[in-house]
Symmetry: C2
Subunit: 304 residues, 2 copies
Amino acid sequence: MSAALITPDWIAVDWGTTNLRAWAMGADGRVLAHAESDDGMGKLAREGYEPALLRLIGGWLEGRPPVIACGMVGSRQGWCEAPYRAVPCLALDTLRTVTAPTSDPRLSVSIIPGLKQAQPADVMRGEETQIAGALRLMPNYDGVFCLPGTHSKWVHVSAGEVVSFQTFMTGELFALLSEASVLRHGMQGEGWDDAAFETAVSDAISRPERIAARLFALRAEGLIAGLTPAAARARLSGLLIGTELAGAKPYWLGQRVTLIGAEKLSAAYASALALQGIKAERLPATECTLAGLALLSPQTLAAQ
Amino acid sequence: MSAALITPDWIAVDWGTTNLRAWAMGADGRVLAHAESDDGMGKLAREGYEPALLRLIGGWLEGRPPVIACGMVGSRQGWCEAPYRAVPCLALDTLRTVTAPTSDPRLSVSIIPGLKQAQPADVMRGEETQIAGALRLMPNYDGVFCLPGTHSKWVHVSAGEVVSFQTFMTGELFALLSEASVLRHGMQGEGWDDAAFETAVSDAISRPERIAARLFALRAEGLIAGLTPAAARARLSGLLIGTELAGAKPYWLGQRVTLIGAEKLSAAYASALALQGIKAERLPATECTLAGLALLSPQTLAAQ
């Protein structure tokens, strides 16, 4: 019964491939409640989206608050396609959302489109909202955002627009290699070794072409040189992040850099960048998501 | 009943992580019969090895032929550990095999040890036998062997000895990325595109640090630029093989190079090397394995 008492001004939704996260937002911008489930895009057919959302936030809909959503929910395989907008452009255009088809009369869902870049070909969905939010938190920011994650993004922002961006598969490589490859045998547990991480970052930046050999060396050192799981895990992370930094050098060299991400992952990127002489600023990912989604809240729209 | 009529002089066994392959060999070196199963190391407990072998070759044991085995069967997680020999050393030392514990009186199984290298740390199991075989097929060979596969090996051989080697996780990365990553969506089918492969090899060799970004570009081009599955698959292969060649340059630059591998994979490596001006020779993998195992056949041992 207590859930039924939540009457948000609007509802923020971040709907990705593996998770669905929602926040009941007050008129003053405060979070009244948070809920999440594993009803990500990956396990939903088109007709499954509305029921999944109702399961999670059905108790918040008394006052028919608008729902603002970002992420893979707007992809071609999602609830309803919100076609990519082409950079250079504003991270978020309040006039370019797409309304999802719903049958529950209490539901009104707007989906924010992702961004695409023709050359080199690249796409994002969800990060554009974080960038829009970051730009509200850091007005007049000119420089680079790095959004580490499954598919890490480096984004050049100037005069309020996304100028260009590049995606690196670093997080997905880490997951595949540490969980599904031969390297998994030497990576049990949650241990970490800062020195191993830092050495690996430097090794990868100075000789990125050795990556596939350095990966196997983790296995070999585990077998014949007593490499610990903590060192192996940190070194794998350092090798992959270092390789990313080597490839992303045109983005960070001589630039103002701000990391938008989860606490631990952002800390790892910050320490890797510090080794290159870059003192990165940091913003929490969820705060940026909510600040971006709030661009479409009733209050913000009314104030425009 | 016909299987019971096979009375080999000896039995060759290549026992890897995923497969068990056996050949009934005649005294004249001919293959009398071949059999294989998926009873690889990965699915066997220690007590499962002898039954798995008997299931496969029980019909060949009338004359108590010796069984000579190489591969992961000799690892710590295998049937019985055949400790690594340290390079530099002969690829195969006929005095350093390990006898597996058996209870069937018809069985006598010798396991060939793998090789290890202290610095940079590296290991092989099975490839040492192929190298020993290749050196019988190409006497006095001085140069480099490349054994492409799940864990590709580059091996420097001089004066009949393995001097040094380096392993690249190229094949495992290809399998993980094409089957288990977000890239799998754009890679259905078996198509191939030679031009896409060659461009990707060159791109990777010239800018190996961009690998994680180029991987995601396969996904992005599939979404917004109509990249075909055949081109995506060939480009993924080219990017990974090109990155390997960039890292293995000290092995192949200015060297005589011979590929030992499966037909299609060796052809891909040969064409990638040709782009670098290297005309690689080629040997079939199975022929090398059998020639190496035959160093321990009764006839060869008797002739020594």
